[in-house]
């Protein structure tokens, strides 16, 4: 088996008295869609933040393509894309300018062909010269995805990408995530929607109170669960953990 694209070992993150990550070990395999599930405050965003450089681990390490995310941050960040949970946009600039700036931060000169490809894929062609402020919520979400992909990352982190978006857009985003996976991009997806993980993920991880409770192939997980749905498995795992003494 090839080396994992993301390796996490003994990752711990404390915010004062709060233990957000508690010795997490996890490998993300090349070319898979990994669905990370967990309730609010479980540690999903913290885990993504450490790998992408938005947070610093208290202990442990994270590697991308074999390189440490702190020591070799220039290398690892060039290979990672992040779609953050909160929608952000710069009202001073157009969609095209936002994409060109984002590419530039990654030392990439955005070609016309790549720009058109991204705008087409994310249905933003008609908004190329529109100010980001003039976009609808769904368009802003798609612009975030385009920005995360502008430097052609090997690994894409999607932090609850469909939170608050309508069904039609959600289905369109799912389809695009599958396309990315088919082209070789590894996708790590956090979500509250179990239906989303069931529809998209190749492997599932369940995290709660900073600990990974389960990591398994989705197909194998569902096959050995005697007809129970992913939702039932999730409730059982998280419920068992929450019933246990801390």
């Amino acid at each position: 088996m090839s080396e994992p694209v993301v390796q996490i070992r003994g990752l711990t993150k404390r915010y004062g008295d709060l233990l957000a990550l508690d010795g997490v070990d996890l490998d993300i395999r090349a070319g898979e869609i990994f669905g990370l599930l967990g309730p609010n405050g479980a540690g999903k965003t913290t885990l993504i933040s450490v790998v992408t450089g938005l947070a610093r681990a208290t202990s442990g390490e994270a590697r991308v393509l074999g390189r440490d995310v702190v020591r070799d941050y220039r290398f690892t960040r060039r290979n990672v894309g992040l779609v953050p949970q909160e929608i952000n946009f710069d009202p001073f600039f157009t969609v095209e300018e936002s994409l060109r700036f984002q590419a530039g931060y990654f030392d990439v000169k955005l070609t016309e062909a790549r720009l058109v490809e991204l705008l087409t894929a994310l249905d933003l062609t008609g908004k190329r010269t529109a100010s980001a402020r003039a976009l609808s919520g769904g368009m802003r979400r798609r612009l975030l995805i385009a920005k995360a992909l502008v430097h052609e990352p090997r690994v894409l982190f999607l932090d609850e990408p469909t939170a608050g978006v309508d069904v039609e857009l959600r289905r369109a985003l799912w389809s695009y995530v599958r396309t990315l996976r088919d082209r070789g991009t590894t996708v790590v997806l956090t979500t509250h929607y179990l239906e989303e993980a069931e529809a998209l993920a190749d492997r599932i991880g369940i995290i709660d109170r900073g600990r990974l409770l389960l990591v398994e192939e989705k197909a194998a997980l569902l096959a050995r669960s005697n007809g129970r749905s992913l939702e039932q498995i999730y409730v059982e795992q998280v419920g068992r953990r929450q019933a246990a003494p801390p």
């Binding site: 915010y15 933040s49 938005l54 610093r56 941050y73 931060y105």
Partner: protein
């Protein structure tokens, strides 16, 4: 510092303030022009000369410096703070840009805005008082170093600030009073001995004074003291802002 990433952030920051020229260039220009007209032209007719220099000409270096440092500070402070507020700071923090590149781009863009305001102020004032500058190279060096110092201070302030009120704290309670008491509109020789001693404890006095020496050929204190101080301020502010950025405080959790 020559990376495409650094150049992109620099260009973006310059374009940001050029998108709102009424707010970033015209407003400071109007303010300093009003100061010049009210103090320099109107009161100047009564005061005539200070140290052998026509009063309207005497106040030009101070007005320029005031515009430069206020705008350099406000550019970096407001831009970085708004990025924190909007969440777009994430775009920079997940990129391969180094801390030196991030700081360099914010500071340099703010210096460009400060120098534009300073240059326009000079051009307007010079139309009334003449374009002669005694030591032009020293004048450019002083305004540039002052802009660097206050731009880096703006970066540090934006990292610290959690509200707009905190962003405005430093310019309202430090920059403005120190500038007004720093001899923009008067010579410390015009002050009674007690107040003159207080004025000498104000760092902005030395900045105004060295620029006055550079532009008019004469000042109240040693120009080396002013040049040394502005160099130290620039180096200290850059170092402080770099350390703060690198610490990740209030930026990376």
């Amino acid at each position: 510092m020559s990376s495409l990433g650094f150049r992109t952030l620099l260009v973006k920051e310059i374009r940001r303030f050029l998108r709102v020229p009424g707010q970033t260039l015209a407003t400071p220009l109007l303010t300093t022009t009003l100061y010049f007209v009210v103090f320099g032209v109107s009161i100047g007719h009564q005061l005539r000369e200070v140290g052998g220099v026509p009063y309207a000409r005497f106040i030009v270096p101070g007005l320029m410096l005031m515009g430069v440092i206020q705008n350099a500070y406000l550019n970096s402070a407001s831009s970085l703070f708004v990025m924190k507020l909007q969440g777009t700071i994430v775009d920079v923090l997940v990129s391969p840009l180094s801390y030196a590149e991030i700081l360099g781009a914010f500071v340099l863009a703010a210096v460009v805005r400060g120098l534009l305001v300073g240059g326009i102020t000079f051009a307007v004032a010079a139309a009334f008082t003449g374009f002669e500058v005694a030591h032009p190279l020293l004048a450019v060096a002083v305004v540039t170093l002052a802009a660097v110092a206050f731009a880096a201070g703006g970066v540090a302030s934006a990292i610290w600030a959690e509200t707009f009120e905190q962003v405005n704290f430093f310019p309202t309670f430090f920059i403005l009073p120190l500038t007004f008491l720093g001899g923009v509109f008067f010579s410390v020789r015009m002050l009674p001995p007690g107040l003159s001693t207080v004025a000498h404890a104000n760092p902005v006095f030395y900045l105004v004074d060295v620029l006055r020496f550079a532009m008019l050929g004469a000042g109240d204190a040693s120009p080396w003291a002013g040049f040394g101080l502005v160099t130290l301020l620039a180096a200290g502010a850059l170092t402080g802002a770099y350390m703060l950025l690198r610490s990740g405080w209030r930026l990376r959790s």
